[in-house]
């Protein structure tokens, strides 16, 4: 059961450091390195705020996004060990704060990756973030992290500008851009008042990148892309290009002060604003700076920019703002032009992509998966595969190391994406794997699973688990909580999802379909029974474990099992779009642990 954590910067408070905490979570901390909880957040190898490929997450947090310390449920054992070593929480935080240095060693502009990583990284954050990030991947399939060195907004926009030019594959347009950039030198020198000796080197980098891209765009777009990545990651070149953009924005501001001066903060005036907000090399871009940059760099060539705001504002969806070239009546002049998507989190920008045509090549996906074995791939497999499930014998699973299942992404994070799950997420993966025995067998435990998630195969195929859950969710009318007549808060007779007593081997090898536990009522009805699963098993209880009695309980689904409580179908779950936090107090929890069937439709309180 997840509790919204009120103090964002307390990475370990919910783990070993608080002994009286919910027993389920204790078991979490007990298994160092393994994130459990079927509905919960999954493993994030790389906190998304940094681009360091193999960085240690605890030191990798960008300054403005410190709360991510809390959100990344990293597999890094060192962190958990620290927690287990009973490091005093405050002490540790203080130490972190003191020794904090933004780790800026990652690449300036990272590789494109699935935006599910964002969802995962926020999985334990503030509920607002959770809801918003959960919905994010449905609209934006990929994102590209940009290093948060104070230039991210400038760099992200600049990179997107070049990248969009590449995508258009128009050599003539690249040539035009070379001419335009060169001619803008006039603006910088005359209006901006900057000395040519200062900016000419910077412009040269911009122009030479455009030139090199133009030279290879027709023969080898791949090369052009590589050039772009390489240049933007070479700090000298990259910073020069970025500063060129700053000069352009500053000059453009000076060229039409009347349009912008009302937006200048603190009545600074154009000159002072430019000196204070645009010219200092590591000054983060502010809204006006972004507007200026878009106006001078992108609008003239018909590029629109959509900024997606991921912040604490109300709502379960990210707000977004489209800035596009418009005529004086506000009519878009190039409505079908390319759109650059930027993800804004307070003080940070990344680039988003809507690659709905699954333009991310398979190779790339596989490569990603190998690099980051914990990548989550949610496969929306066709529902017909349920037939395959039915023929799967549970026998196969009994002697496996089941703890490895804890690493299965699908177990942990099931974004509420069962409606309209975009097809592109599975297509690159499904193709190669569909014929393989692993994925067709639907087995939630493939033989490779025992390797603790180091094999990408494992993770990819195992995440079918999620799709199973999904399909069952779709078949059960009551699952859609938002339309359910039940109170948003499930009856609070919850059992801890620990069912001591019965060893795993006794899980009956039922020939029937391995059930997805759509039986939330189980624990209320049978809470007086010995629970069948072993005490430390992270598994949701299967109805087969309960024998035939359970089959009779096909009544309306109420969300009482721990599985459902822990799944995002529960409104009390932070991944649910209609998230309603539940209050929790340890005493109540303990007090009512022994009592079955307590509580009504409201959260428990003493």
């Amino acid at each position: 059961m997840f509790q919204p954590q009120p103090t964002p910067y307390s990475p370990f408070s919910s783990y070993g450091a608080v002994p009286e905490f919910h027993i389920f979570q204790q078991s979490q901390s007990g298994r160092s390195g393994l994130a459990v909880d079927s509905g919960g957040p999954t493993i994030v190898q790389n906190p998304i705020f940094t681009t360091a490929a193999n960085g240690n997450p605890s030191s990798n947090i960008a300054p403005a996004l410190n709360f991510s310390n809390n959100t990344s449920t990293s597999t890094s054992t060192s962190r958990f060990e620290m927690a287990e070593n009973n490091f005093d929480d405050l002490e540790r935080q203080e130490e972190l704060a003191r020794s904090f240095q933004p780790n800026l060693q990652g690449s300036l502009v990272g590789e494109k990756r699935s935006s599910h990583a964002i969802t995962e990284a926020y999985a334990k954050a503030d509920p607002v973030y959770v809801a918003k990030t959960a919905a994010l991947p449905q609209k934006y399939s990929h994102y590209r992290p940009v290093l948060g060195d104070g230039n991210c907004g400038w760099r992200a926009t600049g990179f997107a500008y070049f990248e969009t030019l590449l995508r258009l594959q128009d050599k003539a347009q690249l040539e035009e851009e070379i001419a335009r950039m060169t001619s803008l030198n006039n603006l910088i020198a005359r209006v901006g008042g900057f000395d040519a000796w200062m900016f000419e080197d910077m412009v040269e980098e911009t122009v030479s990148l455009l030139r090199d891209m133009a030279d290879s765009i027709e023969t080898s777009p791949q090369t052009a892309e590589e050039i772009l990545m390489q240049r933007f990651n070479e700090s000298d070149i990259s910073n020069n290009i970025v500063y060129h953009l700053r000069l352009l924005a500053s000059s453009f501001l000076k060229s039409s002060p009347s349009s912008y001066q009302d937006f200048i903060p603190d009545n600074l005036g154009v000159e002072a604003y430019s000196k204070e907000w645009i010219e200092p090399p590591n000054q983060e871009i502010d809204h006006l700076g972004m507007t200026l940059l878009i106006d001078v760099l992108l609008k003239p060539i018909g590029f629109a920019v959509e900024i997606v705001y991921l912040d604490r504002s109300e709502g379960s969806q990210v707000n977004s703002h489209l800035m596009q070239p418009e005529d004086e009546n506000g009519v878009p002049t190039n409505p079908s032009g390319p759109i650059i998507h930027l993800l804004y989190r307070p003080s940070h920008y990344d680039i988003l992509y809507k690659d709905m045509d699954s333009s991310m090549p398979l190779q790339q996906a596989l490569h990603d998966a190998t690099l980051n074995p914990n990548i989550q791939v949610n496969r929306a497999t066709s529902f017909s595969q349920q037939h395959a499930i039915q023929s799967t014998s549970m026998n196969d699973f009994t002697n496996l190391d089941l703890t490895s299942l804890l690493n299965i992404p699908g177990f942990q994070c099931a974004p509420p994406s069962h409606h309209g799950f975009p097809a592109q997420f599975h297509s690159p993966i499904e193709q190669p794997y569909a014929p393989s025995p692993i994925s067709t067998s639907i087995s939630p435990v493939s033989p490779g699973a025992s390797s603790n998630g180091t094999s990408s195969n494992t993770n990819l195929s195992l995440s079918t688990n999620f799709s199973l859950q999904q399909s069952s969710a779709l078949t059960s009318p009551a699952v859609n909580i938002s339309h359910s007549s039940h109170a948003p808060f499930p009856p609070q007779n919850m059992q801890i999802p620990i069912h001591p007593g019965v060893p795993q081997q006794q899980i009956s090898p039922h020939p029937g379909p391995p059930s997805i536990p759509t039986h939330p009522s189980i624990s209320s009805q049978h809470s007086d029974l010995p629970s069948p699963t072993s005490a430390n098993s992270p598994f949701r209880p299967s109805k087969w474990e309960w024998g035939a009695r359970v089959t009779e309980q096909e009544g309306p689904v109420v969300f009482q099992t721990s599985t459902f409580k822990n799944s995002h179908y529960n409104t009390a779950h932070y991944n649910n779009p209609n998230f309603q936090p539940e209050e929790w107090s340890p005493e109540c929890e303990e007090a009512s642990n022994g009592h079955a069937g307590g509580g009504g439709g409201r959260k428990r309180s003493t």
Partner: protein, 173 residues
């Protein structure tokens, strides 16, 4: 050549071809444009200039006999230059509120603060600002609070001390 080197080379050419009064620049190592040796003359109107003859008779002679102390500075340009400011250290000891009175000779000057630095600032302007700092200490932004205190409370004594140390350390010997 990386752009930062291009830029530094340009600035070096400017400073060496048309050196401002009282500032001499040379490279520590000819193959590395990032490290500069700078010799700064103490401004004549400051206690950092010394009178070489103890008895000055006429004011005409004065201007020739008074000579600035020679202060050696090391100016290091980071690889990120011009996006990061240069770093200046006094190699010669200076009795000054804004310069640490030790081996490091760190200097506190607004233009070099990371948050104030702009790529449009030139090394030349940094050097002239340093010169200016010798003439006009900023006791409110001091690194050596004792010296700053003295500067504020007892200017005469401060000048005497500064002169003494200039003679001791900065006469080019």
């Amino acid at each position: 050549m990386a752009s930062s080197q291009k830029r530094i080379t340009k600035e070096l050419a400017e400073v060496t071809s048309d050196p401002p009064v009282g500032i001499k620049v040379s490279l520590v190592d000819e193959s590395n444009v990032h490290n500069w040796n700078v010799i700064l003359d103490g401004p004549p109107d400051s206690p950092y200039a010394v009178c070489l003859l103890s008895h000055t008779s006429s004011s005409l002679a004065n201007s020739k006999l008074i000579q600035g102390g020679k202060f050696k500075l090391l100016l290091v340009l980071p690889t990120e230059y011009p996006f990061k400011p240069p770093v200046i250290n006094f190699k010669t000891r200076v009795y000054h509120p804004n310069i640490t009175f030790d081996d490091k000779g760190s200097m506190c000057i607004g233009i070099l603060k990371a948050e104030a630095w702009k790529p449009s600032s030139k090394i030349l302007s940094v050097l002239t600002a340093t010169q200016q700092l010798l003439s006009e200490p900023v006791p409110d932004d001091a690194l050596e609070s004792a010296i700053a205190e003295k500067f504020k409370s007892d200017r005469k004594d401060f000048n005497a001390e500064a002169k003494k140390y200039t003679k001791q350390y900065a006469t080019g010997k």
